[in-house]
Subunit: 119 residues, 2 copies
Protein backbone atom coordinates (compact mmCIF):
# COMPACT_ATOMS: atom_id res chain seq x y z
CA UNK A 1 0.00 0.00 0.00
CA UNK A 2 2.99 2.32 0.43
CA UNK A 3 2.39 5.42 2.52
CA UNK A 4 -0.79 5.76 4.54
CA UNK A 5 -2.37 9.17 4.12
CA UNK A 6 -5.51 10.59 5.66
CA UNK A 7 -7.42 13.45 4.03
CA UNK A 8 -8.57 14.66 7.45
CA UNK A 9 -8.16 13.85 11.13
CA UNK A 10 -11.50 12.06 11.22
CA UNK A 11 -10.24 9.46 8.73
CA UNK A 12 -7.42 8.63 11.14
CA UNK A 13 -9.94 8.23 13.97
CA UNK A 14 -12.13 5.95 11.84
CA UNK A 15 -9.08 3.82 10.96
CA UNK A 16 -8.93 2.98 14.68
CA UNK A 17 -12.60 3.18 15.73
CA UNK A 18 -14.29 2.05 12.50
CA UNK A 19 -15.65 -1.23 13.92
CA UNK A 20 -19.34 -1.16 14.75
CA UNK A 21 -18.91 -1.60 18.53
CA UNK A 22 -15.49 -0.06 19.08
CA UNK A 23 -16.65 3.40 20.21
CA UNK A 24 -18.90 1.79 22.84
CA UNK A 25 -16.12 -0.55 24.02
CA UNK A 26 -13.86 2.48 24.50
CA UNK A 27 -16.60 4.40 26.27
CA UNK A 28 -17.21 1.61 28.78
CA UNK A 29 -13.49 0.96 29.37
CA UNK A 30 -13.06 4.69 30.15
CA UNK A 31 -14.69 4.03 33.52
CA UNK A 32 -12.14 1.30 34.37
CA UNK A 33 -10.84 -2.18 33.48
CA UNK A 34 -13.51 -4.70 32.54
CA UNK A 35 -13.79 -8.43 31.92
CA UNK A 36 -15.26 -9.66 28.62
CA UNK A 37 -18.45 -10.73 30.38
CA UNK A 38 -18.97 -7.26 31.84
CA UNK A 39 -18.46 -5.62 28.43
CA UNK A 40 -20.89 -8.11 26.91
CA UNK A 41 -23.63 -6.82 29.21
CA UNK A 42 -22.75 -3.15 28.71
CA UNK A 43 -22.42 -3.07 24.91
CA UNK A 44 -25.99 -3.54 23.67
CA UNK A 45 -26.51 -6.28 21.05
CA UNK A 46 -22.83 -7.19 20.60
CA UNK A 47 -22.19 -10.91 20.08
CA UNK A 48 -19.45 -12.74 22.02
CA UNK A 49 -17.58 -13.37 18.75
CA UNK A 50 -17.64 -9.73 17.60
CA UNK A 51 -16.68 -8.45 21.04
CA UNK A 52 -13.63 -10.74 21.14
CA UNK A 53 -12.65 -9.78 17.58
CA UNK A 54 -12.93 -6.05 18.35
CA UNK A 55 -10.96 -6.41 21.61
CA UNK A 56 -8.23 -8.30 19.73
CA UNK A 57 -7.98 -5.55 17.10
CA UNK A 58 -8.00 -2.76 19.69
CA UNK A 59 -5.25 -4.59 21.61
CA UNK A 60 -3.13 -5.01 18.45
CA UNK A 61 -3.64 -1.32 17.66
CA UNK A 62 -2.36 -0.30 21.11
CA UNK A 63 -5.69 1.21 22.21
CA UNK A 64 -6.45 -1.46 24.81
CA UNK A 65 -4.22 -3.67 26.98
CA UNK A 66 -5.16 -7.25 27.82
CA UNK A 67 -4.25 -8.25 31.36
CA UNK A 68 -4.09 -11.99 32.04
CA UNK A 69 -3.95 -12.62 35.79
CA UNK A 70 -2.57 -16.14 35.12
CA UNK A 71 -5.04 -17.77 37.48
CA UNK A 72 -7.08 -20.96 37.34
CA UNK A 73 -9.88 -20.44 36.36
CA UNK A 74 -8.58 -17.78 33.96
CA UNK A 75 -9.19 -14.12 34.80
CA UNK A 76 -8.60 -11.65 31.99
CA UNK A 77 -9.36 -7.92 32.00
CA UNK A 78 -9.12 -5.19 29.37
CA UNK A 79 -7.94 -1.69 30.18
CA UNK A 80 -7.33 1.44 28.08
CA UNK A 81 -3.73 2.36 27.28
CA UNK A 82 -2.74 6.06 27.51
CA UNK A 83 -3.32 6.26 23.75
CA UNK A 84 -6.78 4.70 24.16
CA UNK A 85 -7.62 7.00 27.05
CA UNK A 86 -6.77 10.08 24.96
CA UNK A 87 -9.17 8.84 22.28
CA UNK A 88 -11.91 8.01 24.82
CA UNK A 89 -11.67 11.58 26.12
CA UNK A 90 -12.61 13.14 22.77
CA UNK A 91 -15.66 10.85 22.61
CA UNK A 92 -17.08 12.66 25.65
CA UNK A 93 -18.62 15.60 23.68
CA UNK A 94 -20.34 13.05 21.39
CA UNK A 95 -21.76 11.21 24.42
CA UNK A 96 -23.03 14.51 25.82
CA UNK A 97 -24.70 15.34 22.48
CA UNK A 98 -26.40 11.91 22.50
CA UNK A 99 -27.62 12.41 26.05
CA UNK A 100 -28.97 15.86 25.18
CA UNK A 101 -30.78 14.55 22.08
CA UNK A 102 -31.90 11.12 23.36
CA UNK A 103 -35.62 11.69 22.87
CA UNK A 104 -35.17 13.20 19.37
CA UNK A 105 -33.01 10.25 18.30
CA UNK A 106 -35.44 7.75 19.81
CA UNK A 107 -38.23 9.39 17.77
CA UNK A 108 -36.08 9.16 14.61
CA UNK A 109 -35.43 5.45 15.18
CA UNK A 110 -39.15 4.80 15.84
CA UNK A 111 -39.99 6.71 12.65
CA UNK A 112 -37.68 4.41 10.64
CA UNK A 113 -39.41 1.31 12.00
CA UNK A 114 -42.81 2.67 10.97
CA UNK A 115 -41.74 3.89 7.52
CA UNK A 116 -43.19 1.80 4.67
CA UNK A 117 -40.57 0.01 2.58
CA UNK A 118 -40.65 1.51 -0.91
CA UNK A 119 -38.66 -0.37 -3.52
CA UNK B 1 -39.99 -2.93 19.17
CA UNK B 2 -41.84 -0.71 21.69
CA UNK B 3 -39.83 2.01 23.39
CA UNK B 4 -36.37 2.87 22.13
CA UNK B 5 -33.87 3.14 24.96
CA UNK B 6 -30.19 3.95 24.88
CA UNK B 7 -27.86 2.85 27.68
CA UNK B 8 -25.66 5.89 27.07
CA UNK B 9 -25.50 9.00 24.90
CA UNK B 10 -23.00 7.39 22.57
CA UNK B 11 -25.56 4.73 21.57
CA UNK B 12 -27.90 7.51 20.45
CA UNK B 13 -25.09 9.04 18.37
CA UNK B 14 -24.30 5.68 16.77
CA UNK B 15 -27.97 5.17 15.92
CA UNK B 16 -27.59 8.22 13.66
CA UNK B 17 -23.92 8.02 12.62
CA UNK B 18 -23.46 4.22 12.61
CA UNK B 19 -22.95 3.92 8.82
CA UNK B 20 -19.36 3.48 7.73
CA UNK B 21 -19.09 6.80 5.87
CA UNK B 22 -21.61 8.93 7.73
CA UNK B 23 -19.16 10.72 10.06
CA UNK B 24 -17.06 11.76 7.04
CA UNK B 25 -20.12 12.92 5.09
CA UNK B 26 -21.09 15.12 8.06
CA UNK B 27 -17.57 16.42 8.42
CA UNK B 28 -17.38 17.49 4.77
CA UNK B 29 -20.88 19.01 4.77
CA UNK B 30 -19.88 21.09 7.81
CA UNK B 31 -17.87 23.32 5.47
CA UNK B 32 -20.92 23.99 3.26
CA UNK B 33 -23.45 22.45 0.85
CA UNK B 34 -22.02 19.87 -1.56
CA UNK B 35 -23.13 17.98 -4.66
CA UNK B 36 -22.90 14.18 -4.68
CA UNK B 37 -19.92 14.31 -7.05
CA UNK B 38 -17.99 16.60 -4.71
CA UNK B 39 -18.66 14.33 -1.72
CA UNK B 40 -17.60 11.33 -3.79
CA UNK B 41 -14.14 12.90 -4.20
CA UNK B 42 -13.85 14.00 -0.57
CA UNK B 43 -14.97 10.77 1.16
CA UNK B 44 -12.09 8.36 0.48
CA UNK B 45 -13.09 4.96 -0.95
CA UNK B 46 -16.85 5.46 -0.79
CA UNK B 47 -18.78 3.94 -3.70
CA UNK B 48 -21.48 5.94 -5.52
CA UNK B 49 -24.10 3.45 -4.32
CA UNK B 50 -23.10 3.65 -0.64
CA UNK B 51 -22.83 7.43 -0.74
CA UNK B 52 -26.36 7.75 -2.14
CA UNK B 53 -27.72 5.26 0.39
CA UNK B 54 -26.07 7.11 3.31
CA UNK B 55 -27.30 10.50 2.05
CA UNK B 56 -30.82 9.09 1.74
CA UNK B 57 -30.74 7.79 5.33
CA UNK B 58 -29.24 11.01 6.70
CA UNK B 59 -31.97 12.97 4.88
CA UNK B 60 -34.73 10.74 6.29
CA UNK B 61 -33.24 11.13 9.78
CA UNK B 62 -33.31 14.94 9.50
CA UNK B 63 -29.52 15.33 9.65
CA UNK B 64 -29.14 16.48 6.04
CA UNK B 65 -31.43 18.38 3.68
CA UNK B 66 -31.57 17.59 -0.03
CA UNK B 67 -31.96 20.68 -2.21
CA UNK B 68 -33.18 20.09 -5.75
CA UNK B 69 -32.71 23.23 -7.86
CA UNK B 70 -35.28 21.89 -10.37
CA UNK B 71 -33.04 22.61 -13.33
CA UNK B 72 -32.23 20.72 -16.53
CA UNK B 73 -29.69 19.12 -16.25
CA UNK B 74 -30.53 18.33 -12.61
CA UNK B 75 -28.60 20.13 -9.90
CA UNK B 76 -28.93 18.67 -6.39
CA UNK B 77 -27.01 19.68 -3.28
CA UNK B 78 -26.91 18.37 0.26
CA UNK B 79 -26.65 20.65 3.28
CA UNK B 80 -26.67 20.05 7.04
CA UNK B 81 -29.85 20.85 8.98
CA UNK B 82 -29.51 22.61 12.36
CA UNK B 83 -29.71 19.18 13.99
CA UNK B 84 -26.95 17.87 11.70
CA UNK B 85 -24.80 20.91 12.35
CA UNK B 86 -25.03 20.40 16.12
CA UNK B 87 -23.81 16.84 15.60
CA UNK B 88 -21.02 17.88 13.23
CA UNK B 89 -19.79 20.32 15.88
CA UNK B 90 -19.14 17.59 18.45
CA UNK B 91 -17.13 15.67 15.84
CA UNK B 92 -14.56 18.50 15.88
CA UNK B 93 -12.60 17.24 18.95
CA UNK B 94 -12.36 13.82 17.29
CA UNK B 95 -10.99 15.40 14.10
CA UNK B 96 -8.44 17.32 16.15
CA UNK B 97 -7.35 14.11 17.91
CA UNK B 98 -6.91 12.41 14.52
CA UNK B 99 -4.86 15.32 13.19
CA UNK B 100 -2.67 15.26 16.32
CA UNK B 101 -2.10 11.49 16.06
CA UNK B 102 -1.94 11.09 12.26
CA UNK B 103 1.58 9.65 12.17
CA UNK B 104 0.90 7.21 15.05
CA UNK B 105 -2.29 5.98 13.36
CA UNK B 106 -0.53 5.67 9.99
CA UNK B 107 2.13 3.51 11.70
CA UNK B 108 -0.60 1.33 13.28
CA UNK B 109 -2.29 0.81 9.90
CA UNK B 110 1.06 -0.05 8.26
CA UNK B 111 1.77 -2.49 11.09
CA UNK B 112 -1.54 -4.29 10.40
CA UNK B 113 -0.67 -4.70 6.74
CA UNK B 114 2.69 -6.27 7.66
CA UNK B 115 1.37 -8.56 10.41
CA UNK B 116 1.38 -12.25 9.47
CA UNK B 117 -2.06 -13.86 9.39
CA UNK B 118 -2.22 -16.43 12.19
CA UNK B 119 -5.25 -18.70 12.12
Amino acid sequence: MGETRFKCGLEAVLAILGGKWKPLILFHLASGAKRTGELRKLVTNVSEKMLIQHLKELTEDGVVRRIDFQTVPPHVEYVLTDFGRSLAEVLAPLCAWGTRHTSEVAAIVRNRECAPEVA
